[in-house]
């Protein structure tokens, strides 16, 4: 009987351990995809009519500069930098910046070349909080201002898509 009980206890311990490992591993794999902040233009708010004129107004080089600055600023932010921790090599950073640039260009009236995942999929498992999203929006605003985008364009043209409730909902809490 002792032998049977011993085996049962071993089985129970192994099962418990396996459950813990599976649960932890599942969490790990989901958080390991940090750095994905690109989104689907289909899920963004439409903003004002000037939103889709921004690409023509500022041009591709300005968009690339803002995107690069945004990734650097966000990665260095103590509060949200860990979301970008998966970008450990130059190649990964470059690929991510290119993808983000494609998305942003598409939202603001440029070629719609973005082929990445939709918002909810891209942010699944990151557990981004509303506060963190607010921080990120703040960084976007700062980078736009730092790169010479006019105050009215920030408010009226660039901000509407990223401050739209539906867009935030597709990122926060995924």
């Amino acid at each position: 009987m002792n032998h049977v009980l011993s085996n049962i206890l071993r089985l129970a311990a192994a099962g418990t351990l396996l459950t813990a490992m599976l649960a932890c591993s599942s969490s790990s794999s989901s958080t390991g995809s940090g750095g994905t902040t690109s989104s689907s233009s289909a899920s963004t708010g439409s903003g004002g009519s000037c939103t889709t004129q921004m690409y023509a107004k500022y041009g591709p080089a300005a968009f690339t500069t803002v995107t690069d600055d945004l990734v650097k600023t966000a990665a260095a932010d103590p509060q949200i930098g860990h979301y970008f921790a998966a970008l450990t090599t130059t190649a990964e950073v470059t690929a991510f910046e290119a993808s983000l640039d494609q998305f942003i260009v598409g939202v603001y009236g440029g070629p719609n070349d973005y082929t990445g995942p939709d918002m909810a999929t891209a942010h699944k498992g990151l557990h981004i909080t509303s506060a963190d999203y607010t921080y990120f929006v703040g960084l976007i605003v700062k980078d736009l201002e730092s790169n010479g985008v006019s105050d009215s364009d920030v408010t009226d043209c660039f901000a509407p898509p990223i401050t739209a409730a539906a867009f935030e909902a597709s990122i926060v809490g995924m």
Partner: protein, 240 residues
């Protein structure tokens, strides 16, 4: 009674059944508890594991604390200045010198509601009163403290929400002046430190940034329309 009668066969079977049911019940309860503790709703429970504050198996860490600190240090490289800061203030602490114990003592002194994140590299305190922060900036909605693997305080983030433009502007000016006096001159200003610049209905940020070879600080007020006005202070150690 060493020579007593052996237990009846039925009695042994009942004992075995009881033992099996007890073990089975324990397993089900364990599975349920551990499983729940790894859901989003249940993850805060992991903080109550003594000395852990995280999944005891460690599998929920995308990065180790050391790797996370390396990532933070690497990400700060583009923001380094040429000169060393005269000091590295962050609220009442000194980055690189203050430790987790110092922050814990401060939390206890002001009876703050703080909780560590899952890997223990960060502690966030909600509703921090002005008395705990010093100065006249008012209550902070949250203050987060970041530690390296040696338990040194390496970064602090403070956020206040719902301020009026005049309050936020004044607060940024005050913090920037204090930082200039303690650490050294600012590196750049973004936007305009004027209440009108941060008026409701706009999306705008006014910020003052300090870049040193061993320290980085950024104080900002951001008007985000429906999301409200937020004042934010970031202080970070740069190991040189």
């Amino acid at each position: 009674m060493a020579g007593g009668r052996p237990p009846a066969p039925g009695r042994a079977a009942r004992s075995l059944k009881r033992a099996a049911m007890a073990v089975g019940g324990f397993c089900v309860a364990s599975f349920a508890l551990i499983g729940f503790a790894h859901t989003r709703a249940g993850r805060p429970l992991l903080r109550y594991i003594p000395g852990m504050g995280a999944c005891p198996m460690g599998f929920d860490h995308a990065l180790s604390p050391a790797a996370r600190e390396q990532q933070r240090a690497r990400a700060l490289l583009p923001f380094r200045g040429a000169e060393r800061a005269a000091s590295r203030p962050a609220l009442g602490f000194a980055l690189g010198r203050s430790t987790r114990s110092d922050v814990a003592a401060w939390q206890a002194q002001f009876q703050l509601a703080c909780h560590p994140d899952l890997d223990g590299t960060e502690t966030t305190c909600a509703g921090v009163p002005q008395a705990a922060l010093g100065g006249d900036g008012g209550r902070a909605d949250e203050a987060s403290f970041f530690f390296d693997p040696q338990d040194r305080l390496v970064a602090v983030n403070v956020a206040r929400r719902g301020l009026l433009p005049a309050q936020a502007t004044q607060l940024v000016k005050t913090r920037a002046r204090e930082l200039s006096e303690k650490a050294g001159p600012s590196s750049r200003t973004v936007g305009t430190l004027d209440p009108e610049f941060l008026a409701p209905g706009r999306i705008a940020e006014a910020a003052v940034e300090f870049r040193f070879s061993d320290y980085h600080a950024d104080v900002s007020a951001t008007q985000m329309g429906q999301l409200g006005l937020m004042e934010r202070e970031q202080y970070q150690l740069i190991d040189d």
